[in-house]
């Protein structure tokens, strides 16, 4: 088993005395596509810049392919970065931009030119060699930035929200192309984004961050189905967060007693219940093998491919996600049943 | 290492920049009747001599009145021109802007010579109006360049809103446009005033023994003798300039070489 390409241990970073990163632990294997995901200010870009070498951490180590690079300047680290606004050199044409890295490695001008052409072919920009960055569209600039980074065949590539300036269609196209290029080259990618759909689409593993800490690491599916903290449950997908009341005999009461869990089934400590909207079936008659909760339908919002339905169950509000076909026969203020299964109900530590 | 070298060079350069001014002020305070630096003893007697000498006081007055009047005229000419250039598209717009800005970069000696030659033909020489006219021409670009950027497109929207609410063009100008361009107007006027006050190359063509400005008086004097009184005159202009600059920094802020975005 080869060593991880990136190993971060105990990394902390402060700005003006305020913590931006707190004791970060992370390992990235060779050829993995890792996405750093989180809301603005969670520290994902700060972490990326520490790894790249533009920021010096207060504590902790960063190892690249086994070598401690924590205090090395950026130009000595064997990795490359794709910047959010591309940072293409305006006074050089496309070929010169891409050839920049190889030339710094001491490669001959002719060889650098060859590699440059090769990298541009890989990103689909053959024939663009003589253009200036100002003559390129956003998508083309993004590809040049990518080519400029991968031409050096780094073992780790850092990408700082590279697709955020592109429109939706182009973005989806680039997501596919990035995955393809990554597979082709076998480079480990560390990709920063705040868009969870993008993260779910592209990542082998997602690193979810909040307030300078890592909340959860795992495959998209695992994070979605088994969130370990309230933040994760709330950030990834939609979630109904339910108060859990612990009765005197140790049993748990959810939704004002509508759902009861006996003492032996219940986890310990104070808890929050998580119920995903798509796991609630809304019907006019109870569904077999489900717990059918009487509910009143207060709002329907159509979002194209599905609909979000707001239900009042006792004193609580639930949101359910239905396919348009499942809406037949349902109307506002209609008494209905919210059908759930205990197996779809997850528990997280902490209060709602 | 390189940074230390740059630091040393910069301190030397800054010392170079301040040296003549410090020396002049210092020399103006010496008790000796010849120039001595460092000054031997400190006295304000030379400043007193200067202030009690009518040729100097009248020259100060001339310089100041000339600067004030030419600045006022420059403002009255520059503001309409700036509005026209910033707001309208018309043939000759670029040419007009270039012509109005060109006195900044054309040699003052040539301008002065031309005005003298031309003025001689129409009787406009060696008089206050003759000086005035030349000064207005060379200081107007300062006002123009300071006001023009403030007549931006965002500014235009405010004027359109004013018109939409029923204000006539002149009302809009006084109530909306003028407040917006005020800071550019003030800084432009200050630069124009200074440019007029310190001007030599243009003024020497049209000054006489009776009608002179301080810079021209200094120019004529130092070619023959230099004494502490002259140093006091220079020292006063330096002190006034320093006061004006500090005021400018406190009001508008001179952090022109400010930090780059991170």
């Amino acid at each position: 088993m080869s060593a991880p390409i990136l190993a971060i241990h105990g990394l902390s970073k402060n700005f003006d005395g305020q913590p931006a990163l707190v004791a970060i632990e992370l390992k990235v294997e060779q050829g993995e596509f890792i996405v750093l995901l989180g809301p603005s200010g969670c520290g994902k870009t700060t972490l990326l810049r520490c790894i790249a070498g533009f920021l010096t951490p207060e504590a902790g180590t960063i190892r690249l392919a086994g070598e401690d690079v924590t205090h090395l300047p950026p130009y000595r680290r064997p990795l490359n970065t794709v910047f959010q606004n591309y940072a293409l050199f305006p006074h050089m044409n496309v070929a010169e931009n891409v050839a920049y890295g190889p030339l710094r490695q001491g490669v001959t001008k002719a060889e650098a030119k060859n590699r440059s052409v090769e990298a541009l072919e890989l990103v689909g920009l053959t024939g663009f060699c003589d253009r200036l960055p100002t003559q390129l569209s956003g998508g083309q600039q993004q590809r040049v930035a990518l080519a400029r980074a991968i031409v050096n065949r780094p073992q780790l590539l850092l990408l700082d929200e590279p697709l955020s300036a592109l429109d939706m269609k182009l973005r989806k196209k680039m997501q596919n192309e990035l995955k393809q290029i990554q597979h082709q080259l076998g480079i480990a990618f560390l990709f920063v984004t705040h868009d969870q759909d993008e993260a779910m689409t592209m990542a082998d593993r997602i690193v979810l961050m909040n307030h300078g800490r890592i909340e959860q690491v795992g495959r998209g599916k695992d994070i979605y189905e088994n969130p370990t903290t309230r933040f994760v449950a709330d950030f990834i997908g939609d979630a109904n967060l339910l108060e859990v009341e612990r009765r005197g005999d140790g049993s748990l009461s959810i939704l004002d007693g509508a759902v009861m869990l006996t003492a032996t089934n219940a986890p310990k400590g104070s808890l929050t219940g998580v119920l995903r909207p798509e796991s609630i079936l809304v019907t006019t008659d109870p569904v077999a093998d489900y717990i059918a909760l009487p509910a009143s339908l207060s709002e329907i919002v159509h979002v194209g491919s599905h609909a979000l339905v707001t239900l009042t169950v006792g004193g609580s509000t639930l949101i359910a996600r239905l396919a348009p076909s499942a809406l037949v026969g349902l109307g506002i203020s209609q008494p209905v049943f919210a059908n759930i299964r205990l197996s779809d109900l997850h528990f997280l530590p902490g209060n709602a | 290492m390189v940074t230390t070298l740059v630091r040393i060079m910069s301190f030397a350069a800054l010392a170079y920049l301040i040296l003549p001014l410090v020396v002049l002020v210092g020399v103006s305070l010496t008790t000796t009747s010849f120039l001595a630096f460092p000054p031997k003893g400190l006295t304000l007697v030379w400043y007193g001599k200067m202030l009690s000498d009518p040729t100097y006081t009248s020259a100060f007055l001339n310089s100041t009145i000339l600067a004030v009047v030419s600045t006022m005229i420059a403002v009255l000419l520059a503001v309409p021109a700036a509005i026209a250039i910033a707001r309208y598209r018309f043939t000759g717009r670029g040419l007009l802007a270039e012509m109005l800005n060109s006195p900044l970069i054309l040699p003052h000696v040539v301008l002065g010579a031309a005005l003298l030659q031309y003025g001689g033909a129409i009787g406009l020489i060696r008089s206050f109006p003759a000086l005035l006219v030349g000064h207005v021409v060379i200081i107007m670009p300062f006002v123009l360049r300071a006001v023009q950027p403030q007549l931006s497109d965002e500014q235009l929207i405010l004027e359109e809103a004013s018109a939409d609410l029923g204000a006539k063009p002149l009302t809009t100008f006084f109530l909306v446009t003028l407040p917006q361009i005020r800071s550019g107007l003030v800084s432009g006027a200050i630069f124009a005033f200074i440019a007029s006050w310190i001007n030599v190359e243009l003024s020497i063509f049209n000054t006489t023994a009776d009608l002179s400005t301080i810079p021209v008086k200094l120019f004529n004097y130092v070619q023959y003798t230099i004494d502490p009184t002259i140093a006091a005159v220079s020292g006063l202009t330096i002190i006034v300039a320093a006061v004006v600059i500090v005021l400018l920094d406190l009001t508008i802020g001179l952090d022109v070489l400010s930090e780059r975005r991170r």
Partner: protein
């Protein structure tokens, strides 16, 4: 905007008229007079005289030489100072103070500044005293009346312009570009050579051309620091108007200087466009 042609005419009438009367007309008069004999016939004699007489070429050569050296010195001193102010200084109040020091000379008259150098560069002046005190020379050096003296004075007058031009250019360089350069393996020295300096070059060139233009057309500083021993072109022009009163010849000299200046302006315009290096 509403108003159209009428408003434009109203707004521009006064400024245009003023400039036409007191800027364009005088220039036109000078041009015409330079091409006319005192009797009123058209002639190129004055221009031919300028071209033919080697005295003018000597004066032009001295003017250009001093101007070029002054520009060079300004750049050599000014670029590091601009670098220091924009990139080394972290504390804002100190930078503001330095900018005040930089701009203060600009607010004092040329004559005052030149007078200051007359005092400093004299036989018993501070500079000579300092050089003798440091043991670098034995007897006082002559500065006034030499090209070196004029050079020192001119560089002093023009230095702030270069610092401001280069400073603005350096401040505009995108920090991301420097980080990208480091990320791709360039040391700070290499980043300066390949990225920062080329990007600051257009601003530097535009500043240098403006400074050169001001240097070759300068009058007061060379007049005072030359002690009458050195003649530059503007002194020549001024002599025609103040003592000799030969306006035809003086006019031709003026137009020559004007043409030169316009050519330099055009050059500056070309150089300040962003270009590939």
């Amino acid at each position: 905007m509403s108003g159209g042609k009428g408003s434009v005419v109203l707004l521009c009438a006064l400024p245009t008229a003023f400039f036409a009367a007191f800027f364009l007309a005088p220039m036109a008069v000078v041009l015409i007079v330079s091409l006319t004999t005192p009797a009123g016939h058209p002639t190129l004699a004055y221009y031919l005289h300028i071209l033919a007489d080697t005295y003018h070429w000597d004066v032009l050569w001295v003017t250009f030489r001093i101007g070029a050296l002054a520009t060079l010195t300004c750049v050599m001193i000014g670029y590091p100072l601009a670098w220091y102010l924009v990139r080394v200084v972290q504390w804002r109040p100190w930078r503001r103070f330095c900018v005040i020091l930089l701009v203060l000379p600009l607010f004092t008259s040329n004559i005052v500044r030149s007078f200051g150098w007359m005092v400093l560069l004299g036989r018993n002046g501070l500079i000579n005293d300092g050089l003798i005190g440091l043991g670098l020379i034995e007897r006082p050096m002559r500065f006034l009346g030499t090209e070196l003296g004029i050079l020192i004075g001119l560089t002093y007058i023009l230095l702030p312009f270069i610092v401001l031009a280069v400073g603005n250019a350096l401040a505009k360089v995108d920090p991301d570009l420097e980080q990208a350069s480091a990320d791709l393996g360039a040391t700070p020295a290499c980043t300066f050579r390949t990225i920062i300096f080329p990007l600051s070059l257009p601003g530097l060139m535009a500043g240098a051309v403006m400074v050169f233009m001001l240097a070759v057309s300068a009058y007061v500083t060379p007049a005072l620091l030359s002690g009458g021993k050195i003649t530059v072109f503007s002194i020549l022009i001024f002599q025609q108007y103040s003592s000799v009163f030969v306006f035809h010849y003086g006019g031709a000299l003026s137009i020559t200087m004007l043409v030169l200046t316009l050519a330099l302006i055009a050059l500056a315009g070309r150089l300040s466009e962003p270009r590939r290096v």
